[in-house]
Symmetry: C2
Amino acid sequence: MVTEMNGAESLVQTLLACGVDTCFANPGTSEMHFVAALDRVAGMRCVLGLFEGVVTGAADGYSRLSGKPAATLLHLGPGLANGLANLHNARRAGSPVVNIVGEHASFHLRYDAPLTSDIEGVARPMSHWVRTSRDAASVAQDGADAVAAARAAPGQIATLILPADTAWNPARAIGRPPLVDPPRKVDDSVVAESARLLRRGAGTLLLLGGDALTEENLRAAGAIAAHSGADLMATTYMRNMARGAGRVSIPRLPYPVAQALPALAPYRTIILVGAPPPVSFFGYPESPSELHPPGCTLHRMVATGEDAGDALARLIDRLGADPSAARLQAPERPAAPRGPITPDGIAQALAAALPENAIVVDEAITTGRGFYAAMAGAAPHSWLSNLGGSIGFGPPVGTGAAVAAPDRKVFCLEGDGSFMYTPQSLWTQARENLDVTTIVFANRSYNILKHELAMVGAGNPGRNALDMLELDRPDLDIAGLARAMGVPARKATTLEELNQALENAVASSGPKLIEVML
Amino acid sequence: MVTEMNGAESLVQTLLACGVDTCFANPGTSEMHFVAALDRVAGMRCVLGLFEGVVTGAADGYSRLSGKPAATLLHLGPGLANGLANLHNARRAGSPVVNIVGEHASFHLRYDAPLTSDIEGVARPMSHWVRTSRDAASVAQDGADAVAAARAAPGQIATLILPADTAWNPARAIGRPPLVDPPRKVDDSVVAESARLLRRGAGTLLLLGGDALTEENLRAAGAIAAHSGADLMATTYMRNMARGAGRVSIPRLPYPVAQALPALAPYRTIILVGAPPPVSFFGYPESPSELHPPGCTLHRMVATGEDAGDALARLIDRLGADPSAARLQAPERPAAPRGPITPDGIAQALAAALPENAIVVDEAITTGRGFYAAMAGAAPHSWLSNLGGSIGFGPPVGTGAAVAAPDRKVFCLEGDGSFMYTPQSLWTQARENLDVTTIVFANRSYNILKHELAMVGAGNPGRNALDMLELDRPDLDIAGLARAMGVPARKATTLEELNQALENAVASSGPKLIEVML
């Protein structure tokens, strides 16, 4: 049934027809017709963010839990620019996102009004697909094409730029829902080569990343490990990893080069399953960028965007392995710890308190280095971390994850430094009453940079350098920030207080913040 | 005296030699050598921001008061991306900025580590000049070239990308301080044509923007107006305008098209003095983009980046005008108002309280529409507003202005919506004990968008659309946010409370925030 509608309405209808029913938004004048269309077309959930980094990060988190793209609604070039950092992270994670970016009406562009900028230029570095709609009649199909681009494996960033007149002029059709190719299956020769390498015996590692870290795929990898004697390891960062009791528990590649090198040193062969070749996060003067040992063979079995589950199943077949042989993690719920706050104590408190089926968003930086290992035996949970390295990732991703999975509890583990990039996320959590508990580890410094300063050989920092690394003077009151945005908050100065705060978070729904005083 | 130093040290020394002695920074690993150099090279003031939009906006504000560029220090592509919106505003204002953006060590780039992105691509839309340093020996001259590019009239955005190894490898020289061309003087023929148009008599407007709004240039324009009978008007937004008692007081072009059209309707001739042709901020379906009346002649006397003062002086000569004939604004300090909070009452309170030589940063959006006119007779002050239209401008610009002018009081007038884009500015104000009073007008909505929704013909918003325009549920506690970042704050619910809060702000130094409850 096609009735008279404008371009914006045709776009909203198209997005819905393509399965995109959630939009994270920070709109302005050029997006007002899209906003007005929300009243006229039923079915689109629109979630307001007070800053664009919240919007794009939420879209990333949403896709990690829902398996489908959200739309974002952003205001011209500068609005998109404010969202780029979390689009970078989403892009690196293989998260699909459909950005709708308003633009001046096409007749207005030549006047070079204040907000005019090269929006396509702003979009391109962080987008796989960029298009500017030509007219109102094109908007619907452009929208469908954007969704198709976003859904191309492993998940892409598609940016559709909408001149205001293409939104307000009449349109008639809605776009065709895209046919999206399923993830590519790997060649038989690649599976055969993997089997051959595994049969060579000891010294082989399966390095798993991306979709290889789902519960089912981890179980398949576990079966291969049990059959072949190979080791399993996860990439340092993961899009959405199944963890906890009853799952296949595997270590992750450490971030620090000094730990990553010995972790990979034992291997003659590394089979990459949805993981890129292991490289250091930064280049350093005195250490190698490549983390695998000299002479080690890297074999890419599953590239990013290829079907990890299919490849692992075929490898099990070819090896003749028992698909149910994976060793599963036993529950290891520690007692609630006591005493002064320490990183190990925090990890123990988290492992003790974590409820079934929680979502953990890890941006805890230095404080959180030990959490991953310590939480291996906690209740089953999902682990989300940042594959792009741009901080300010956690609170928005937790927000979007909670929108996608309203029946699950989200725990955002944050450094105080990283928290301050996108604190506005808390307001959206309060408005939408999202079940997110943000735990901020207040060490009052960019602690990671103190290590990095040494790693790059920049020596012992003096007063001027330290001023760039320390967040005291004044101390931030993170709990106060949360309350000011409508999120109940408390401070924990002992592990007992942390236990109690976690217990309270688990016992009741809705957003909360715990500031852990280190 | 050339001693052994690394690339980062050669850059810091070069910046100092070129007159750039202030750096707003949000560094990461790839910038650690620059940070370390701050200890080894004396004289660079480095100011930390917790978010990159603070850093770039502060550089804009700094340049508006100091007349020279600051450096920024940003972390790879995503760090630069977070700073782009305020670079867009700085670019539109003609503010010089030298961005130093860290990049992976050149040997590390090919590994496509998590933070890798196309930094030049990110920089280009908002930069006039972009360069990636080739090696440590080139960094110093690259830095000098960046300063020269930034200082080219009217002021440009220069972005220098520094691979980490160019910072840590040995360098020997420092860069040559740049020779910068003075602003171009306009042709005699253009001055002559201006004189001819002014002699035609009534119906002529001088529209002043950019450097034409300094105290001296406004006085020259006032002399021309007194001699010729022409009217004077300022652009809607201004980089740094001299205002208040004893200055030449002129109206500004209103933002709403419905007010701008009648404001320009009387004129047969508009002479542009450092102002672009008057156009509407956005294009609307039912109103023109060009604001001058049909048949009106636009004559560009002084283009952006040309020497307004010289042109105005030569025009005075040619007209035979009396250079001291400008009509100066008499002091008009109103009594402190009483009663419930209204926009007019706020304007009166500000005009009453403003101390001599204050700096006003105007991002008050809808609440502040009447402030400009109402404050014409207040104590002499500087008026800074946003020429780029990307909100989140005020708190960072006020921060940078206060760094540049420590002996002056800064008043940032903010909407609550706009405040929430870069609230982290307050922490920097607290850390540096800057004399900034932020006044937030809490109407709990993106009020401007309600007007804009009607202007674009999108009709009456329903519940879903209103959800994108209203900032209640939950109410933000802006005063609480300020206190949590170390800035003393109070709420004003009556004009009496506002008067008292302003009195307190004027009486003592250091950052403060006043939340005005509308």
